[in-house]
């Protein structure tokens, strides 16, 4: 088995300088290893730090303690200390992230939003549009919407655009924060099959799935986030 992700002794707390310097500890001494083809579901009650952990792996949040090692280009990159230039390269080619919310530039058509990750890894424009279209079709986003900006779409449609964007490039590591949250049963099944396919081709998946059926379908391990590290006092 190939290890794709290693968290070593990771700790996190937030210091709120504007609110009297209040310190909010999240966790400390957290260790986690994820292999290729695995899907690790982070479990635990809300507020325990599941989304925080996912964001730290993506380097969207800083990692003040420990190391977050990512298998990138045959070497280890520590997301906690790597130069931003390197982190951007990891995000472009190795690590995809599907958040709960779609954040897009106004006026950019849906098809371009989905094709962008492919363009970023150097695929030519025509092929990227074809593949983006295939992914949108698979996720039941009707073709008449492709030329429109997703800003005005419904919650479920936006989430499917978000998922299309996250799955259009076969990232070796996928971070999923509630990918099925606002979807109906049919679309949920499609997303679950996308996750299973990603696992089959060897991607390492770390996700938060509040939906039990979703978790039982795709996860190879369910981890209690509170037990991964010591709960910071």
């Amino acid at each position: 088995m190939t290890t794709m992700l290693k968290l070593e002794n990771v700790g996190k707390s937030f210091t709120l300088h504007v609110q009297g310097g209040v310190e909010l500890p999240v966790f400390e001494s957290l260790d986690l290893t994820v292999e290729a083809g695995e899907c690790v579901a982070l479990a635990g009650p809300s507020g325990i730090g599941k989304s925080t952990l996912i964001r730290m792996i993506h380097a969207n949040y800083t990692c003040p303690q420990g190391r977050i090692l990512v298998h990138h280009d045959g070497a280890w990159v520590d997301m906690a200390s790597a130069h931003p230039h390197r982190v951007l390269d990891v995000r472009r080619r190795t690590m995809g992230y599907v958040s709960q919310f779609l954040r897009v530039v106004p006026r950019v058509p849906t098809i371009d939003v989905v094709a962008e990750p492919l363009r970023a890894v150097g695929m030519d424009a025509d092929q990227a549009l074809v593949e983006a279209g295939n992914m949108l079709t698979r996720l039941n986003v009707p073709e008449r919407l492709w030329s429109l900006s997703p800003v005005t779409f419904s919650g479920g449609e936006q989430q499917r655009v978000n998922i299309a964007r996250g799955f259009v490039h076969p990232y070796p590591i996928l971070l999923l924060d509630e990918p099925t949250a606002s979807l109906d049963a049919a679309n949920k099944r499609i997303v679950l099959s996308l996750i299973l396919e990603a696992r089959e081709r060897g991607s390492a998946v770390i996700g938060i799935f509040h939906d039990r059926e979703a978790r039982e379908t795709v996860a190879t391990r369910v981890l209690d986030t509170a037990e991964l590290g010591q709960r910071a006092a």
């Binding site: 300088h17 800083t62 951007l88 472009r92 106004p106 006026r107």
Partner: protein
């Protein structure tokens, strides 16, 4: 383009003082091809001073700014001869001013504003120059029929788009922008942001963008520096600095944004 390992711009410990008044102090960073660096901070934080030092308009009191040219060799932009620097500014670099009046010639037509930059780099064929000017005006969404009009007859947003066309027509590699969306209506801003973002991506430009608008850097910049009193107090990935700011001043900036 993105992902290449040699920086296009290397800024090492740059400071600039106005007499006893501090402009910017001890700024260092590397900018890579295809990357956009945002610089935020309030008025007087030193961000425009820094931009002017980077673009060669001001000489730093200490430190150096090195640029890697198309051939791969590095030059210190404050130590090179004036003619070489002027050539570089016409060919490889572009500077988009906050006020389009500072970057445009207001008494010549829109087409001439774009075309004269091509002539400045030695193009002489009138038909080609006009053709390229038309193409660029279309690209920045200035209607075709306005090519012979003076910029004074344009709205603020159109003037800013014209300034961008004038700057990008020569195919620069590095673009400096000072509050490019400042003073424009929100709807006009969105259109301009979308345009700049598309151009930066399509042309693989590197850019340094100074603004006080965090929404602008969220959309345009890969990386972000927060300046206060002349110093960079925080610097990192844009989304990291905005979503998990560490320095008290960055936290204050982010928490001061009005939610809509």
């Amino acid at each position: 383009m993105l992902g290449s390992e040699q920086p296009i711009l290397s800024v090492d410990n740059v400071s600039h003082d106005y007499g006893r008044q501090r402009g910017c102090a001890g700024v260092s960073f590397d900018l890579y091809p295809g990357e956009v660096m945002g610089v935020v901070g309030e008025s007087g934080s030193g961000k425009t001073t820094l931009l002017n030092v980077l673009a060669g308009h001001l000489t730093p009191s200490t430190g150096s700014v090195r640029y890697r040219g198309r051939s791969g060799g590095e030059v210190d932009i404050h130590r090179m001869g004036e003619p070489e620097r002027r050539l570089l500014m016409r060919t490889d670099w572009a500077f988009v001013h906050q006020n389009p009046r500072d970057g445009l010639r207001m008494n010549v037509s829109a087409g001439a504003n774009v075309g004269e930059r091509l002539m400045a780099i030695g193009r002489r064929h009138y038909g080609n120059i006009r053709g390229q000017a038309v193409e660029w005006l279309e690209r920045v969404e200035v209607e075709h029929g306005r090519i012979d009009d003076l910029p004074v007859t344009f709205s603020g947003g159109m003037q800013q788009r014209l300034q961008i066309a004038r700057n990008l027509v020569t195919g620069p590699r590095l673009v400096f922008m000072d509050e490019p969306t400042g003073g424009l209506d929100v709807s006009v801003q969105a259109r301009l942001l979308d345009l700049i973002r598309g151009l930066v991506t399509d042309l693989g430009l590197s850019a340094v963008i100074v603004t006080h608008d965090l929404a602008v850097v969220r959309l345009l910049a890969h990386r972000l520096m927060v300046m206060k009193d002349g110093y960079v107090v925080e610097n990192g990935l844009t989304d990291q600095v905005l979503d998990d700011p560490q320095h008290p001043y960055s936290q204050l900036l982010v928490s001061s944004i009005l939610q809509t």
